[in-house]
Amino acid sequence: MRYVAQRFAQFVVVFVVVTFIVLASTRIGSTDPVQDLAGGQVDGARRAQVLEDYPYLDMPLPIQYGYWITDLVKGDWGYSYYQSQSVMDMFKQRAPATFFIVFWSIVMGLLIALPVGVYSAYRRDRLFDRASSLTTFGFISMPSLVVSVALLYLVAARYDMFPTVGGSDYVAPWDNPYEHFKNFFLPSLAIGIGIGGVWSRLLRADMALTLQSDFVTLAKAKGLSPGRILWIHALRASILSLITSVALQLGSLISGAIIAEQFFGPRGLGDRLVFAIQQNDLLTLQAIGVVIVAVVVVANLAVDLMYAVVDPRIRAARALS
């Protein structure tokens, strides 16, 4: 319990520090936040309105942070004067696309990692293992930018089925599964390939260790089929660090999704982010930053707590590493 409380305290501190960094970095080089929020060439009326809505913008940074984070927790995420839209509405519109890219790329990654990792651990140092270890190494070394270009050139540009740059809008899977697949297949694959490579190697290493342990020998002696041993007994024992990696990679997956969006269409948070940076649309930037940070930090916390529940021994070890 003390451990949980400690982790939670650390979680809060990290969250505050990071969101403050996000807030502070939007203010670099800006002399007048009110002007930034109101937009470049605006009349006094709009400026006055911004000041009325956000009176705290003239105050020192920590106080601004206090006001802003309170509003955020209350559910008032602010208003983007550039987009003439509240930030919350923008999220409702754009976040699903980004979410689905991340979701499907995790699915793709696991679809690559599970079979490859398990089978190459089973056939360790055999032909399949060699070949797959070479391939996954290549996958890891392929920046998602390169994978995206390759997919764009080899697939999207040749087959009309898949949309290219900015060519598609978000379609929910429950509205039209086929359209959804068309929009999301390539961006998710672009991210999934690299991450799948990382995860297969991770799983292979853990699995190879597990397969040498006594309970696997026992299971073999009992006459269980290799499939059952591999996929049920051994996999369960070795999957922990894979799950950890899935959680810890969430942040970079979101970053990847934001880039992949620019390539393959389904417009999510990515282009809003780019516009917001260009115009220094403070509240939009801060909101996007805070949401991603929240996802990452909560995932981290979840991993720590999961370890605490699953295996108390690891809890202490993780505190060390």
């Binding site: 650390q10 970095s25 392929m142 050139y153 220094n280």
Partner: protein
């Protein structure tokens, strides 16, 4: 406490039981490493002597007689030319210079700062460790690409403004500088984390205990016993880190926030992507260069990690 440390140490020290292939690999460097090292050496030499080599043209001027049309790869243009008549090969080589300078400089700053923090956190433990851990956790929780593009965007504004800090203006803050600063900042935390873990396990070893019982002071133990033993892991981290930063630079360029002049590989790819159907060579060659370079850094880093038995997952 001690059992846990030992457990951690064995995990770090023995990723795989030794097999026959592993011992053989130890003697002959694999074909991959040879390829990686050769590629990197060749690239670095080409990139940094590009100004003096006769067969590398300008990156920023059209070649006479070639303007206004994109030629495919051939004898005249090894990698083709772009629609403004510039030589793609030359642009790739100068791109290497930009990309490599940024990644190497950032990882060096990250290693020095992060390494120091990691050693201090791992050696002193207690509240020092806790403070540093919160700092690195916070840095790790930052969404890298997003914060990088935000900061580079803001630095542009800062450089254009007439703000000054202690009497110095910010006109020196070009894209190269701002990307390097941001990447250095982002590479501190991962390095600190790995070095801390290494230091924790090393400071439990017998030779550290021996040095201390012979009366060595803290500084001597740190400098003579701990730091030299952290360096192998650090080398592997540096190589892998450069690979990651090269890829990240590509992503950043894609959002429009990398170095435009001389264009980094990422900028080359991002700028020419729209014309991929008419002139594939403008995009594909920088992509291949980027891929091969990242691959080479990974191959060399992997080799170093294997040589010194460093757990792969830690990277």
């Amino acid at each position: 406490m001690s059992t846990v440390t030992a457990d951690d140490a064995t995990r770090a020290a023995a990723p795989e039981p030794v097999t026959e292939t592993r011992t053989r690999r130890r003697r002959i460097p694999g074909i991959g490493v040879v390829f990686g090292a050769t590629w990197l050496l060749a690239l670095i030499v080409l990139a940094f002597t590009a100004d003096y080599l006769p067969f590398i043209r300008f990156y920023d001027r059209p070649v006479r007689g070639a303007a206004a049309a994109a030629f495919g790869p051939g004898n005249d243009f090894w990698f083709g030319s772009d629609s403004l008549g510039r030589d793609v090969f030359a642009r790739c080589i100068y791109g290497a210079k930009t990309s490599l300078t940024i990644s190497v400089a950032s990882i060096l700053v990250g290693t020095i700062v992060g390494g120091t923090l990691g050693v201090i956190a791992g050696y002193y433990r207690g509240w020092v460790d806790r403070v540093i851990s919160i700092f690195t956790d916070a840095l790790l929780a930052l969404p890298a690409i997003i914060i990088a593009s935000l900061l580079v965007g803001r630095f542009d504004v800062l450089a254009a403004s007439d703000a000054d800090f202690l009497g110095f203006g910010f006109s020196w803050l070009t894209r190269t500088w701002s990307v390097t600063i941001v990447f250095s900042l982002l590479s501190i935390a991962p390095v600190a984390r790995i070095v801390r873990a290494q230091t924790l396990s090393i400071s439990q070893r017998e030779y550290v205990l021996a040095a201390r019982s012979l009366g060595a002071g803290t500084r001597r133990v740190l400098v003579r016993e701990i730091v030299p033993n952290v360096i192998p892991a650090l080398t592997a981290v540096i190589f892998t880190g450069i690979a990651i930063l090269l890829a990240a630079e590509g992503g950043l360029a894609f959002l429009g926030y990398s170095v435009p002049d001389p264009p980094s590989w990422g900028s080359l790819i991002a700028d020419s992507r729209e014309q991929i159907e008419e002139a594939w060579w403008m995009t594909i060659f920088p992509c291949v260069m980027l891929f091969l370079t990242v691959l080479s850094f990974n191959l060399v880093g992997d080799r170093v990690a294997r040589r010194f038995d460093i757990r792969e997952a830690a990277l």
